[in-house]
């Protein structure tokens, strides 16, 4: 008899479905989708499209968190990379723009990784440094203004579409697939889970924990860079002051809603992305609802708590316990 515990994931999907249903109640056109200039158009698409930056961030964040780390700098890194992309867009070809921007994200991740793995600074403070300074760097690049660009190639990454799907969605899916390939196609995933679960044991088992630590922060930086590019491309400009502001919290929230523990260990990239969609579905629902903006945060708090409580191991156990009781009474009847 297999004693495997049920794989988590159902609760997240159910939560997403419930929120989408709630959105449909507040806005009956929620599921309407039409084609507009060759691009799918509708509230559901908005959820995916607007959710793309946080989803991208959460793809990197989930690896960092699985390693018992945390990356508070992703919002600032988004701003830096978006600023670089926007300032270069009109004077350089797209590959150069992307290389510069992604390179900056990589460098930011490397900095974080080195602070954590080599200087052994606690992740939350190590990344807090870049969270504070990074926004300054982004503003330095834009000199505090909104740098706009007209390059249609870069604009395509935000507003364009591939086979009707807005590009940000496509980029997110691609990044998710690539990350899954790298992490689950190799033994890296196992090593990350092992190191996050028990760093000392993993080091003794011969896992190069430092290198992997640096690597996950680099990857998180890269994801943040991509998110920054998408955010810039979306508004045809880089708003260093506000791009990615507080998105690190959303990304962490997405990862946790996705069932990955902040104490490291087991992780799920797919569910982290689902978590990001849950958050965005909630935000979009609030916007559609017509409630006054003063209530936004209260609604958000209540929904987040409800989603988490529904996932709570305790409450889950109680539901399972009910199942056992039920099963038992049935078998007793049979005997």
């Amino acid at each position: 008899m297999a004693l495997r515990l049920p794989r988590i994931g159902t609760s997240q999907i159910v939560a997403l479905a419930l929120i989408l249903a709630a959105n449909w109640v507040v806005s009956p056109q929620f599921f309407d989708i039409r084609l507009q200039d060759g691009r799918l158009f509708g509230s559901l698409i908005d959820v995916l499209n607007r959710g793309a930056p946080v989803a991208l961030l959460s793809i990197g964040m989930v690896l960092v968190i699985a390693m018992r780390g945390i990356d508070l700098s992703v919002g600032a890194v988004m701003a830096i990379c978006g600023a670089i992309a926007a300032s270069l867009a009109d004077s350089h070809p797209l590959p150069v723009v992307l290389a510069a921007s992604l390179g900056a994200g990589l460098a930011c991740g490397l900095w974080n990784g080195l602070l954590v793995a080599v200087l052994r600074i606690q992740p939350i403070v190590a990344t807090l440094i870049l969270m504070v300074a990074g926004r300054g760097i982004a503003q330095l690049i834009t000199e505090g203004r909104i740098v706009t660009f007209t390059s249609p190639e870069l604009a395509f990454l935000g507003g364009g579409s591939v086979l009707g799907l807005p590009t940000p969605i496509v980029l997110t899916l691609a990044m998710m697939a690539l990350t899954l390939l790298i992490v689950r196609g190799t033994a890296l995933g196992l090593m990350i889970e092992a190191t996050g679960g028990n760093p000392r044991a993993s080091a003794l088992a011969g896992i190069g924990t430092r290198l992997i630590t640096v690597a996950v922060y680099v990857w998180s930086g890269l994801c943040a860079a991509l998110a920054g590019i998408v955010a810039s491309a979306d508004i045809l400009g880089a708003d260093a002051n506000n791009a990615g502001l507080w998105l690190e919290l959303d990304a962490i929230l997405a990862v946790v809603i996705g069932g990955t523990s902040l104490f490291g260990g087991r992780f799920s990239i797919l569910l982290a992305v689902v978590g990001a969609l849950i958050i965005q579905a909630m935000n979009t629902g609030i916007l559609l609802s017509g409630l006054p903006p003063e209530t936004n945060l209260v609604v958000k708090a209540v929904v987040v708590l409800a989603v988490l409580l529904a996932q709570s191991p305790r409450i889950g156990a109680q539901i399972a316990g009910l199942g056992v009781l039920f099963g038992r009474s049935r078998s007793r009847r049979r005997s």
Binding site: V125, G144, E294, N296, V304
Partner: protein
Amino acid sequence: MRSLARLTPVLATTAVFLAGFVLCSLAYPNFASLRVVMNLLTDNAFLGIVAVGMTFVIISGGIDLSVGSVIGFTTVFLALAIERWGVPPLIAFVLVLVLCAGFGAAMGAIIQYAELPPFIVTLAGMFLARGVSFLLSTESLPITADLYTHLSDHALRLGGGARLTVPAIVMLAVVIGGMVLLHLTRFGANVYALGGSRAATGLMGINVARSTVLIYTLSSALAGLSGIVFSLYTSSGYSLSAVGVELDAIAAVVIGGTLLSGGYGFVFGSFIGVLIQGLIQTYISFDGTLSSWWAKIATGLLLFAFIAFQQLTLHLARRSRRAPAGVRP
């Protein structure tokens, strides 16, 4: 010897702070004055108070992201209670402290009984407290009660324009009280034990649930007290006040040598951590030539410098200690 060794992070932090202060004084002639020191205490009083609560939470292995919002809520509630509803200020203080404590207790209970990570529960708490303050009022409300004018005028004048203000005195009292509570009581020992091993603490027969609830109650109540101080400091209530203070408090606690993973740390270290952050800001405003972005970059770099220097000090201290003493007696 080994018991003393645990103090190394605090000592390192204190040394770093003193060194920083001396450097600033060398750079700016007006810096090394009692006035600047007292300003450091007054201006960071509200942060110091939440940092004490945060120290308890972090040592117990948790985190509390809601404190900034709780401060905001407190100021709005006080302004409404005192100015609109005509509640006497002292009663309003008690009311708001009870409300905040209850809020903390609720978060602690959810963390304990639903077994949810503190980070997320208190993040939801952060949304909720801020959201409720928006619902109460989105305007900034002046508080004109006599007590407020009295209290903000009331200060020990120390000469040279230096004043030991009421907020500063409250903070110092909270720091000392926090030190006693954390280091000298059973509750304090339980806090450390929880951070060392939650499971083990339960197996040792400690009431983990009660301790957890108490810890978050304490943190929120101190955030409420901090909100009272903040409202005294600004004589007003405003729903957007103290945004992001939770991160400042966490940074202060961690800079003060407390391990975010729990189990280690000192209230005094957090106090120094607060002062270090205040020092960085004072330095930047004394300099005054930094644009918004350079100020942020400089804050980040100084933060890095402090932490790197602290790591170095710790590393050297450990090395010099290990050689003669060995791992075991």
